[in-house]
């Protein structure tokens, strides 16, 4: 605040030069048309009953009330929280482990491995979904592998199982996201001064003490970024579920975004779909705020 006052005091009579704002105008117009306007329209629609065409009928908070009282929707939100474990926690733990190892061990051709491990991140989710659906298929590579190892009674239709479908879709998310976390953490590790590691060694720190006392604290910023990004993806994810299970079997992998799609495009309930969209946005916003408030750097 102090520096701000100084800035203003130095130029007491100068008017603000608005011409600079013209430069952001094109981008801002796009933002209004494609983000703010649809958001406002969705917000309005969420208080109406609307089939997608014709008149919108105002129903107040009814859509929100119905969503909160729909057991299927509540259970779909629970599924989303389970997916956070797979989309966010697992990738971050794996990413940290790899980054921690790379600090200690020199691997030949590291760039090659890094590229391979990052590959899932750049593939389209549709491609990923189709590939994994094949891997998990009743006669797919996973089951063939299990049979080969003599674990015949373990093999099953993974994505058709009421118990296994959700965690196995989650594991695809882990596979996709850990490369992202890894790259982020490796970049972070490289900016840690090597003196810190030398000092730790002098103090007699083993690999674990070194990781928890030097690497982990230094990567806090990167961990926050990874958390924000992966938690958001876990909650708003649609394509992976749509391609692999469609929410099934039954409702065992149903997530809020699938409901939004079904309500809007299959059930003629665009108003209800909008209210669920708004609820999902608020949920993501709240969670991300919590992450940032809890973990941000205290000065």
């Amino acid at each position: 605040m102090g520096s701000m006052n100084k800035f203003i005091n130095n130029r007491p009579h100068k008017k603000i030069d608005y011409s600079n704002y013209y430069f952001i105008l094109p981008a801002f117009l796009f933002y209004i048309i494609f983000v703010l306007y649809p958001l406002a329209d969705t917000f309005y629609t969420s208080f109406t009953q609307w089939s997608g065409i014709g008149e919108k009928k105002w129903v107040g908070l009814e859509n929100y009330y119905n969503n909160l009282n729909d057991v299927k929707i509540i259970s779909s939100i629970k599924h989303s929280f389970i997916l956070i474990i797979f989309y966010s926690f697992f990738p971050i733990i794996i990413g940290l482990a790899i980054a921690g190892i790379m600090v200690r061990v020199k691997v030949k051709g590291i760039a090659f491995y890094r590229a391979i491990l990052f590959l899932p991140q750049i593939l389209s989710m549709i491609v990923v979904g189709i590939a994994w659906r094949w891997i998990y298929a009743p006669k797919g590579p996973l089951n063939t592998g299990l049979d080969f190892l003599g674990l015949d009674n373990w093999s099953r239709a993974w994505l058709g199982s009421f118990d296994f479908a959700l965690p196995f879709v989650g594991l695809i998310g882990t596979w996709v996201m850990f490369g992202f976390a890894m790259i982020l953490f490796i970049a972070g590790v490289q900016k840690i001064p090597t003196e810190l590691y030398d000092a730790a060694k002098v103090d007699g720190a083993g690999p674990f003490a070194e990781f928890f006392n030097v690497t982990l604290p230094a990567l806090k910023g990167e961990i926050i970024v990874a958390l924000v990004f992966t938690v958001t993806l876990a909650l708003r994810n649609f394509d992976l579920i749509y391609i692999t299970t469609g929410g099934g079997p039954g409702t065992s992998t149903m997530i809020p975004s699938m409901f939004i799609y079904k309500k809007a495009f299959q059930m003629n309930q665009v108003g209800s779909a909008s209210s669920l969209g708004i609820m999902l946005t608020l949920l993501i916003f709240t969670l991300i705020s919590l992450i940032l408030i809890t973990l941000r750097e205290k000065k």
Binding site: G52, I53, G246, G248
Partner: protein, 413 residues
Amino acid sequence: MKKLIIFITLILTVFTFNIKAETLRILAEAGDEATLTIAAAQFEESNPGVTIEASYLGWDDFMATIKLKLADNNPPDLAHGNQGFTVDGTLIQNGLVIPLDEYADQYGWKNLFAEGSLAEFSWSDDGSTWGSGSLYGISPVVEDVIVYYNKDKLKSLGLSVPSNFAEFENALSVSNNAGELPIILGAADGWPIIHVWGLIEGAFVEPEQVRSWIFNAKGTEFKTSSRMKAAKKLEEMATAGYFGSDSLGIGYDDANAMFINGDGVFNLTGTWMTAQLNEGMGDNVGAFAMPRNSGGVAGGGSFALPWHISSKSSNPDLAAKFLAHLMSNDFVDDLMEIGRVPAQAPTINPTSKLQAEVISASNTLVGANAKTFYTDWSTPGMYDTVTQELQKLIGGAASADNFMDAMAAESIK
């Protein structure tokens, strides 16, 4: 001078072209591409100056966008809808498609079929009641859900084509005991189980009752004792392993590919698969209509997707004329050659043994007035409910009672 002549000729050409040229824009579900390609070529030839612009959407995209496409300011003249309140009902409620009664009289469509058989295209003009009223759609094709079977397998199991439901059940049990998969089912997609349910339901519930419930789910009791029997039967079949242990992990296309490659004795699906199964299995595949528990046959199925004329079409008469071509007696044989099942009797011989059996099955269903449509037509939320609940029932995650309760609750929503 030369330039002037060219210029005048050019103007005249453009002028005459403008007078004669008419474009008919069609939006169809992708399954109709072969049919429309032939029909459009024929129609353009017999109507000089008419150009047909057809575009196609795969089922999921089609279902997700068809209402918006017709609500657009520049909609296609002619478009597919889908029976039921979700699509057709909404289109009519919003005045987006026009009644076809005048055209039906002009071209004699109503005389082609038995009384009452166009009920699935008939609506009150406000789109609130279904099953009677004005004619809003028409289709030259029927699609029935029947039973396909692997001929070699049935023979080697010492079985013959079942003539009643008990024999069908016996065939399943014999197949299962012999280590064959009785029924191939791509249950991962959800909707293929609707077809299986339609056949089992039809075997126990009077087809007439099934149709009344679909037309008016809110006002018709779902939980009848005969339907309860059907649900229990499906549960029994799943528990006995008649669909195998992996069906919920297999998609519809994969299931059909597996059937072609020799997995499964029976395949309970729609006549739209005829051409593909025939190509893959030749004379080794046969078909019959599902025999009912108390005699006779029943099958899911209906006309194919209805054709609608947009209320914003600049040339509805031309659209109707094209429909009349699709519905004409001349076009029946073309439909046969593409491997579809025409709604009217064909004059040429079936193109394959399978097609002959399919048409015979279809005729039996028509003769017995025994089509049960599709469960998901009944309410906008039913597609979701019935696919989820059937997956649970097949996968042993819910009982027949649970299934009936969930379905009854959705019916009155």
